[in-house]
């Protein structure tokens, strides 16, 4: 039974040298994006340079954790082992208050109640000792 439960987990993100600070912050239940010091571009997903000007001079910007649903889909069929038993679930792009859009899941609500523009806030799924995945739920 334990094996069965393990199998039904979402895939653990593979942290790399570029994304380590991001995932370390997530493990503390903090969400960060990056902002270039040279051109002020805010960007997501995390990387070791600004994708606008390739500058390595950037700040990690702590997010408010608030945003709104930019678009979403209620997935009713997914054969892969981590999600077969999770359908229906909501995959969405959330537009953060900081301006960037991130792919995520909307949780802690009936999938049928999710709408574009709905205010949401971050929550974390502690799925491995060093990995907590940022998800979003309806804003309180």
């Amino acid at each position: 039974m334990a094996d069965e439960k393990k199998k039904s987990k979402r895939p653990v993100p593979r942290m790399d040298e570029e994304s380590k600070p991001f995932w370390e912050a997530c493990a503390r239940h903090e969400l960060y994006v990056q902002k270039c010091r040279t051109c002020n571009t805010v960007f997501y997903y995390p990387r070791a340079f600004c994708p606008e000007d390739l500058s390595k001079d950037f700040d990690w910007l702590k997010c408010s954790g608030k945003g709104m649903v930019y678009t979403f889909t209620i997935t009713r069929q997914n054969q892969s082992s981590g999600f077969r038993n999770k359908v229906p679930y909501v995959m969405a792009y959330v537009e953060l208050e900081e301006g960037v859009r991130m792919l995520t899941n909307i949780v802690d609500c009936d999938p049928e109640t999710v709408t574009i523009g709905m205010p949401v806030e971050v929550t974390f799924d502690d799925m491995a000792p060093e990995i907590s995945v940022p998800l979003f739920k309806p804003a309180a």
Partner: protein
């Protein structure tokens, strides 16, 4: 350097099978090669350029080995379903540059009989962005559905309008003896089919089939001495689109970058096209691609596809073979866009022939609209 009319498609072949568990992938490619070379009136020993995709990292060398070829030009550019549209452009450029004389473009797949869950399976690429996506359960259908939902929200596009694309495409398939699904459907049938990933229904999605095909590209000069009327490669352009560091407008496709460039390079505009082959992985793909190519304003794709405009006899007939929605979709479909356009331009399409077809546009989309994808536009003319 303009490549306009320097190279031509001299032979094409679409493998008739949609279910081929008794054949190998490379066998499907060899049979397709035989068909296209016969169509052109050429021999396998005339071939000195080879293009393919869907065979693994260095599979093109094994393919050359399987066919006992030693080509001077090799291209296994893999940008998803649009790969073969880009191969056609690359082959034309290689021929214009003198790198090869006769290029053979091949595709074969058994994704249906191998039970490959391309639309609703998981599986990560291992590329950098994957760690920010795979944990959220993306599927091919789901990724496109993200675009569909946003398009409906911003522009009021309806499921009924998207269904119109599936209905028209099925009507075309009913006129193609090789198409897999030939029974007519209605808008209500599409809406009543189960929702796979909202707002996309089963009949908004392309099928998964087995199959393959082949194209023969040679110089315009040589093509004029061959069996069939040459179909000239007028121009091409490629592009890609992705999450743009978190700022992407999901209702735009890479076609917005490649389409206008291809048309400008050929010196043609929208009204000049007699038909178009638009990659139809999903109904929303067609809607967004038509907008991005500029056949209508952004947001108007839903109304554009209504009232018979994209059907045979309409203003812009598209996917006259029945498309991926109804004819075949063995994982990637770019090669069939070119095959059908060539047959239409030659006037070989029988019941589904577009009258006086002189100019056609092929546009391939590879990957997903919701995450990242490539676009390849190709203008073909007589």
């Amino acid at each position: 350097m303009s490549m306009s009319r320097k190279a031509a498609l001299a032979g094409v072949y679409e493998h008739p099978l949609r279910w081929a568990p008794h054949k190998t992938q490379y066998q499907i490619m060899a049979e397709s090669a035989r068909g296209a070379l016969e169509d052109a009136g050429l021999n396998i020993k005339d071939v000195n350029g080879l293009c393919t995709s869907g065979v693994g990292g260095m599979g093109i060398i094994a393919l050359a080995e399987h066919l006992n070829l030693n080509p001077d030009f090799l291209d296994s550019n893999s940008i998803g379903g649009s790969s073969f549209v880009s191969h056609t452009a690359h082959a034309a450029a290689a021929i214009a540059a003198g790198y090869c004389d006769v290029a053979l473009i091949l595709y074969g797949s058994k994704w249906s009989s191998d039970r490959f869950a391309i639309g609703t399976g998981g599986g990560g690429s291992g590329d950098p962005p994957e760690q920010f996506e795979g944990c959220y359960g993306p599927t091919t259908v789901g990724d496109y559905a993200l675009t569909a939902q946003r398009h409906m929200h911003e522009f009021g596009t309806t499921s009924e309008q998207l269904a119109e694309i599936a209905v028209t495409t099925r009507k075309h398939a009913s006129l193609n003896p090789n198409a897999k699904f030939r029974d007519l459907i209605t808008v209500d049938d599409v809406l009543a089919s189960r929702e796979v990933s909202s707002p996309l229904h089963l009949l908004d999605c392309c099928m998964i089939s087995d199959g393959g095909g082949a194209l023969v590209v040679t110089s315009a000069e040589r093509a004029r001495d061959l069996k069939k009327k040459p179909v000239y490669i007028m121009s091409a352009a490629e592009a890609c689109s992705h999450t743009s560091a978190g700022m992407r407008d999901l209702t735009d496709a890479a076609a917005k970058q490649s389409g206008p460039k291809a048309m400008e390079r050929a010196g043609v505009s929208h009204a000049d096209f007699d038909m178009a082959m638009i990659y139809d992985s999903f109904t929303i793909t067609v809607c967004v691609t038509l907008e991005s190519l500029g056949f209508c304003e952004k947001g108007e794709g839903g109304s554009f596809v209504q009232n018979g405009r994209i059907g045979l006899g309409g203003e812009l007939p598209i996917n006259t073979d029945g498309g991926g929605l109804s004819s075949n979709h063995p994982g990637m479909r770019g090669i069939f866009l070119v095959i059908e356009a060539v047959k239409q331009l030659r006037g070989e399409c029988g019941e589904r022939q577009v009258k006086d077809c002189q100019l056609a546009l092929c546009h391939g989309t590879g990957g997903t609209l919701g995450l990242r994808h490539s676009g390849a536009s190709l203008v073909l003319g007589m």
